[in-house]
Amino acid sequence: MADPMRIRATLTGDTVEVKVLMAHPMETGLRKDADGKLVPARYIETVKVNCNGKDVLTADWGPAVSKNPFLAFRFKGAAKGDKVTVTWTDSEGESRTDEAAIG
């Protein structure tokens, strides 16, 4: 169901800046649809970012992260061409993994 993430990882000096845009509705369970029925909660619960076999960021999210979540962070210890792998898992157990090479 889920569309691929857009991941950009750029090396500046010795620091890699990672920017991720995920495609996910992030339903809180509080929103009503056009018929006035509650839309069931469904949101990303965990995000893991891995590079060269090491987790460089893990995140626990609740329903309050915006729809189509954006995430940016920086880490050290990787070189150009290394792969950054991002995995999210939502409250329905669905998950998606995408990767990008550091440029």
Partner: protein, 161 residues
């Protein structure tokens, strides 16, 4: 005629009884769930917390101290509460967790980021804020929990449709 009237009365009587059971027994539970519904599969206690102190407690801390070494960037006025950009940079040594806490949201904790060695104590993301309230950047170091906060005014709520 009489029989069908009796049947009708019986049917409505049992129907009323059912309604009463629903009103007394089930409705409060459902109402409570409607105020604070996490996804049924979600069993993370830190996301059930409704204020900063509770979030810190659920994350295993005591009381968070204010700190000037946490840089929290968020708009003063958020025109759309559904998409509020938040940027947090911690200058505290040994930062291992950065969390975004918004006290007037149904769940105070919005997101928590675990920062391993080699990753900068910096995150940037976008969150929903239900109404004008204090936004907290909560940071955990080896020394305990620290926070910075700022008031974000919301002109359009983040949770409605």
């Amino acid at each position: 005629m009489n029989l069908s009237r009796r049947a009708f009365l019986q049917a409505t009587a049992s129907g009323t009884a059912l309604l009463l059971v629903a009103a007394t027994g089930l409705a409060p539970r459902r109402a409570a769930a409607a105020v604070n519904p996490l996804a049924p599969s979600d069993h993370r206690p830190q996301f059930e917390a409704t204020n900063l102190d509770d979030v810190v407690k659920q994350l295993g801390g005591g009381k968070a101290q204010p700190s000037a070494d946490i840089d929290l960037k968020a708009p003063e006025i958020a025109e759309n509460g559904a998409v509020v950009p938040v940027e947090i940079q911690s200058k505290l040594p040994g930062t291992r967790l950065i969390a975004i806490v918004s006290e007037k949201n149904p769940h105070a904790l919005s997101a928590a980021f675990h920062i391993p060695d080699g990753t900068e104590p910096y995150v940037s993301t976008r969150v929903k804020i239900a109404e004008t309230s204090n936004l907290y950047a909560l940071v955990q170091t080896d020394q305990g929990f620290f926070y910075a906060n700022r008031l974000v005014k919301v002109t359009l709520g983040g949770c409605g449709g």
